[in-house]
Each structure stands twice: as C-alpha cells, then as structure tokens.
Point group: C2
Chain length 467, copies 2
C-alpha cells in the first residue's frame, strides 16, 4: 500500500531501521525514570525526566530552554526556521507532549515492575510506555536524528514537553499567554492517543470536553440509629441516589434540563464515515468485560463515545463501608461525577444547569452542595486542513495503510487553549492502541507502532514542507 512517490528518501528510512535497537534503548532509559508528577516524593525523578529530554535536544543541536514554572519545568526546543521558499515562509509545527506519568498503583497487578521496562511479545511494558514518553519520543527521535544526520528540515519544529499533564497542566496554562510568541505555530502536533485498532492508524479530529464535580448531601448532624429514626428522618444516601438518578432517563438520555441545548449535531459526513469503521458492539462489550453495552438511544457506540455528551459517577461514599452490618442512618453522602462535553457545550453553563436541576430535585430534609472541580470545552480539529492532508500521506507512508478519521472521547483541555491562544490548527496522531492500559497496571506500547511512529513523524515534516 505504500506510495513510493511520497516516501522519505530511502537512505533515511534505512538509517531509522538500522538504528531501531538504539531508539528502543533510549526509550528504556527514559521509562526507567519514575517521573510521577502527583507524587511529592518523586520530585527529583520528575526533574530527571525533564533533564533527560532536554539533553536529547541539546545533543542534536536544537536551541533548547528549560522554562521554570511554579511546578515542573516546561522543556522547549526548536529547529531553525528554514529560508522562505518562493517568498513563502515554511510552516511551523509545535510538538506538544509530556514527560510526567501517572502513579503506577495498584502495584500488585503489574506483571513486571512499572519502572523496569521489559519487552514481551514485541511490546514494551512500563509506566509511561504509551502515555506519553513512548509516543512523544517518536517525534523527538525523528527530528533529532534528521538534524543529527546533517539534513535540513523543510519546516520549523518547536517542542513543548511539559511535566504536569497528568495533574492538569495548570502551570502551562498560566504561562501560555506569556509564551504565545515563542510557541507561535501553524499547527500543534500531539501523539498522546490511540489508533482505531491494531494496524488501523487514525487521525483524531475531535476530543470531548470535560466538567467534573463533587456533590455533597447533608442530613442530620450525626449518624443516627436506623431503628429509632428510620422512616422519619430523610436518609442523605437515599437523597443522593435520587438526585443522581434524576440526572438520567431510564433510556440513557441525560435528564438535566437544558443539558443538550448547545450541543452541535454530529455532521452527517462523520457519522457516515464512522459507520464504515465496522465497530462491533458485542466484541466491544467483550473487550471491556461487560455483558452488554448501553447508552443514549439513536446513536452508535462510536458516536456515544466520541461525539455525544456523557454522565459518569466516578465515586460514591456514604455511611458504613467496612465489613458486616451497621444499621446506621448516615449523616451525609457524597458523589464524584463528571460529564464529557461535546462541541459548543460550555462547562460553566452546565454547572448552572446542574445547580438548577439539583435545587429542583433535592428532597425535603437534606441540603446539597455542588462543587465544580475543573471544566474544559471540547476540541475540534480541521479535518480538511493542509496539515491534516499532509498527515494522511505521512501516516500512510509509515503504516502502509491510510489512516481513518475518528474522534476520541477523552479530553486534553490544553489543546483547546492552544487553539485559542496560538490561533493554530491541531493534529492528533495517536500511535497507541486502545488496550495499551494508559493509567492502568501493565501499561505497554507496541515497538512496531513505536518505530512506525518515528517513520511517520519524519514523513510528516517532509510532507508539511510541501504545504
């Protein structure tokens, strides 16, 4: 399927193939550093992981800078801006990624220790393998090796590798306006997501937004004896269940008044394209260990996951959770819940609708408090932009098959901020697989995908030079 007309010069491809072992060694080195940004005892390692990638850029001769923040530094690097061609400034791409990782717990579920990378069946197992060290390294290697080989890049590449993606990117968000000139670009390139399936590379043209909350329900001032008071005093745990149930219709639609008001319908062209992907509900249910799927009526599984808003309870807490029976009427109950949002939904408006909803649905005898945590709008990329077209060619070059155009249901809130502040396009090129277990025990990354990613990255810069 490879289109030789748009392939990279054979000699560079050969070079990448010959050096595959060394690239894997470098990935292993980086993965050994336990850069857990949420763990205050891991601070030194997080800085070490930052230094590792900074060294990498410097060794290749990129102009490199470590930008300090209140938390971990932003590692910035750039290649030279090529001379204008026919009076036209070549495109500028900003590769965004992160060197921090999720905590590895629960440790007892790992087959091999999370920070001692092991290769099994052509996959590398370690925390950070796919999220995001393995994926971002494909771009770091493609660019550094290209420059290192003495060639000139037809585009300017900037890198911004942060250390707090797993804890919300607050410091990057704060610094972003100030850095808008440094980071100015035509397109942000991110590899921190997944292919549609093995051997089915994808370009992700949209992400959902997010709004997270905690709902507290308070009843009596202290736990009561359910014998002496049950039936006469409102039970906050029952009230919580009623309030949460009231948010969703039995058929799966969200029942919060006005929740869908601002939702943009999914363009027919995308719905049609997704139907061709051949998603199989039974197979999908099996893959997550559920006995069946369920969701909003009138939409397919991919539509529900990628382009329709959702409601999930993330945690429930009330009363006696230990062993055995304690017939208590608990004083309070609480839930953590979240919505995934779709284009045109505003997390602040959603918070107001929720407050109104709970005010209407809070039973007599209890009080509620709704605490918003964080919110971010959805992100849509321009699927028809020249950068996307360049990416399609590059991915086909490396993977031997044209990518499918999909969306993903997760959220990378900083991308919408990039779009706003840098007024740029976004290109989401996931080299991972859905079962790579990002955030879970036994996280892995296929080495074949790793090498194809490096190849695709190199091809992308070449293709982008023709834009």
């Amino acid at each position: 399927m490879t289109n030789p007309a748009i392939s990279l010069p054979d000699e560079f491809v050969d070079f990448l193939t010959q050096n595959a072992g060394r690239f894997e060694e470098e990935l292993i080195q980086w993965l050994r550093i336990a850069s857990i940004s949420s763990d205050s005892s891991a601070k030194e390692d997080v800085h070490k992981a930052a230094q590792w990638v900074k060294n990498k850029f410097e060794a290749a001769g990129l102009k490199t800078e470590s930008i300090p923040t209140a938390g971990f530094p932003l590692i910035y690097a750039e290649t030279p801006l090529p001379e204008p061609v026919d009076g036209k400034t070549p495109p500028v791409a900003l590769v965004y990624g992160h060197y921090d990782v999720q905590p590895p717990e629960p440790l007892d579920l790992w087959t091999s220790p999370p920070f001692e990378p092991v290769i099994r069946d052509g996959k590398i197992f370690a925390r950070g393998a796919t999220d995001d060290k393995g994926q971002v390294l494909t771009h770091v290697l493609a660019v550094c090796e290209w420059i290192g080989s003495g060639r000139t890049l037809p585009v300017q590449i900037k890198f911004l590798i942060e250390g707090e993606e797993e804890v919300g990117s607050a410091n990057l968000e704060e610094h972003l306006p100030r850095l808008s000139e440094t980071l100015a670009c035509d397109v942000v390139v991110v590899s921190d997501s997944s292919q549609y399936g093995p051997g089915r590379p994808a370009i992700t043209c949209g992400l959902r937004g997010i709004a997270t909350y905690e709902l507290f329900v308070d009843g009596p001032s202290h736990d009561l004896h359910s014998g002496s008071f049950g039936g006469a005093v409102m039970n906050p745990a029952i009230a919580l269940c009623q309030m949460l149930s009231s948010m969703i219709e039995p058929d799966g639609r969200i029942a919060v008044e006005g929740f869908y008001d601002d939702v943009l319908p999914i363009p027919e062209i995308e719905r049609e394209a997704w139907k061709q992907l051949g998603s199989d509900d039974e197979e999908f249910a099996r893959s997550v260990g559920a006995n069946a799927l369920a969701g909003e009526p009138g939409y397919t599984t991919d539509e529900r996951r990628w382009a329709r808003p959702s409601f999930d309870i993330n945690g429930l807490t009330s009363g006696h959770q230990g062993e055995g029976v304690k017939t208590v009427l608990p004083a309070k109950a609480s839930a953590k819940f979240s919505h995934r949002l779709v284009p045109n939904q505003d997390p602040i408006a959603i918070t107001q609708k929720l407050r109104d909803h709970f005010t209407r649905h809070c039973p007599t005898g209890v009080k509620f408090e709704l605490k918003p945590d964080h919110g971010a709008g959805a992100m849509l990329a321009d699927a028809t932009s020249p950068y996307t077209r360049a990416a399609v060619t590059a991915v086909e070059t490396a993977f031997g098959v044209a990518p499918v155009m999909i969306r993903e249901g997760g959220s990378i809130p900083i991308l919408a901020r990039f779009q706003e502040v840098l007024e740029c396009d976004v290109l989401l090129l996931g080299w991972g697989q859905n079962d790579d277990a990002a955030h879970s025990p036994n996280e892995k990354f296929s080495l074949e995908d790793f090498h194809r990613g490096i190849h695709a990255s190199a091809a992308l810069w070449q293709e982008m030079g023709r834009v």
Copy 2:
C-alpha cells in the same frame, strides 16, 4: 402522684435510698470493665464482666450458673420458686439483659475515657452506662438487695445475662430451645430501651423487625477511562443509584412491589394514644440536626418511627473516594441497606420481593447480586396483660407519674424468639433517655433514672405477686 396504697414497704424504700451511693459504686465497678464483644483483643474483659455479675448473684445467695457457649457465657441465676398461694403457682419472670458493650470508637469524641466512668450533672458517662449495664443492674440490685435483706419474693425471678447482644445473640439463639425448661417463665422483662422523654417513663409495647442486605452491581471487568468509554458502557454506580432510587417513591412510600402486602395497620387506639404524647416535629428535627423531617405520607413521626416499615441506605461504596478527581467509570458499586419491618412482615418474603424488584429494575449492561445478612420479625407485647398492668403501677410508684404506652423503632430480635420458644409475654421497661447516646461517644445514664429503675424493679415484683 405516688399512690401510697401500692408503695413498697417504706423501710425497703428507705434502705434503697440509704444505699444509693453503694449502688453507684457497684455500677462504676462494672462499667470499668471494657467488655467489647466484637473486639477479639477484649476477650478477657468480656469474661471478667460476666464473672462480675455472676459473683453478684452468688453473693446474694441466688442459684447461679455460667452456661458456656461457642462464644461468651450466658449467666443464669434464679430466686426460689415461692409456695403456691391459694393453690395458685406464683408468676415466674425472666429478666434478660447483656454484659457486653459496643466498641467505644471514635475515641477522640469522648469527653472522658469510655471505661473510666465519671459523674457529671447527675449523669454517669461511660460505655455501657445505659446499654445495658446500668439498666440491667437496676433489676440485679433490686432482687439481690431484696433477697439479701432476708425478705421473700412473691414471684420467682430468673436472670439471663448474655455477652453477645451487641454482636447478634447468635449463640443464645442457638442454645435457646435447649434451655427452654430452665428459662420457662410467664413474662420476659427487659430494660434496654428508653423513656419517652425526661420524667416521662414508658412501657414499650412493640419493636420493629429488621432485614439487612448488601447489593452489589458489577459492570465492566475493570475500571474504565470515562473519556474513552463514558456514554457507551453502563456505569455500575449509576445503575446502583437507579436501582436504590427505584425502591422509594418521591413521596417517601416504599416502591418495592408488594412490600406493604402483609403489613398490619396500626390499631386506632394506639394511634390515638400516641397523638396525645405531644410530639413536636420541629423540635424533633432540631434534636437530630436536620432542617426538616420527611417520611411516608399519612403518618405522624411517631407512627413512622415505631409502626411503619422503613428503608435506609446504611452505606454506599464505589470508585474513587480519595481526594481530588479521578474520571473513572468504576467496575463496580455496592450498597448496604436495611428495612425495619412491622408486625406480620416476614424478612424472607421481603427478600424475595426485593430480588423480583431488582430483576425488573436492573439496567442493561450490569449484573446485580443481593446478599441478605440477617432478618427478624417485629415484636408486639400484650399491652393489656396483667404483667403490663403490674408494670404500670410499679413504674408510677417509682417515677411518680404513670408511664405512657409506646413502641420503639429498633429491633431486639431475641425477644420474638423468647415469645416463640418460651410462649411468654414480654415487658419492655426502658429507664434510659433518647439522648443517652447508646452506641455513640459520651454514652450516659441519669443516676436519678438509675435509682428510680431499682425502685420500679422492686415495686414490679411486689405488684406481680398480686397478679
């Protein structure tokens, strides 16, 4: 208000008054023993508390026995059976109580240490003060002092003081049929409950039954990323909330099909009597720290608490309960819940109705498991029996005011078993107060109530001799 015609001989009342200090000393001794039956490290103390009351009976010359069980011993004692009067065998009463106590946790909420009894404002503060050492000791003292003073009792008194009431009385229940001859009696007398209020002694003519459950809801085989899967995979925590909410109507009625089928209506005579008690909903809400009361329509607060079945969630557990946000779609969710049952409701039938209900209301995409823990029917005493009439007189003698006839919403499952196995009446004479904090920090017992209880106990045996 005291009716001198039915008072105890003045000299015995004087004797009780003169010895009040010694009685308090004895109570303090017993309360010092940390007989926590659920704490395996407290075994020695539980045995010590059993031995303490056994010594008390033996010192007074009662025929005493420690009946071993698989757990803690049953302490049995009896006074001699009096000679028949006019060819009529005098009545036999069995005093039931317990020498074990609840765990004292949370310790930091105690003003003084739970096993170092302290008297403040005429109240003794210690774990077990009201539940049940202080209350059962009133009968132990009345009988032992009576016998010890060389008098003859007009009735036979048997004592059964167990050490596992706070952990479910399983061993007593197992031994009960075998002990039916030893324990044979006309009436079981229990002081392990409360007065209607300060200075408002009560005879409790009914208790609710109980049925406790754990409900497990399972969805995917492991926690999922709410971005990638939210909206397409049923969330077990949402399913749990829906299933629990489906058990109750918005107006407070229980919505489980057939739940009320077997419920006996509350006799009009009791409803009328309770209305005269002058319960104040606003005051009641304030006393528990709730902003309002709520419950089944058409019933008063006392009716809801004492004689209508109830549903309480005792605990909720799912997903992320720690600090901060984790946008997970949890693999499972569970709840502990319980029903208080009223006369004629059968816990086994209720379990079947719940199973049927959940089968109908379990959403697609999850499985449920309902695990019953324990169940017991409600208990009704005969409010018109000669023993109850004797108790009314005795209580009036000691408290200077006639007792009100009430029920309580809690459950003492062993009492219904006594009724069945021993074919006897039950007399529930609570000397405690609703705010005595049984099972909570700073448990207390009014010394005035303690001494009145001793007096009432002595008067009861005298009155019962006239039955």
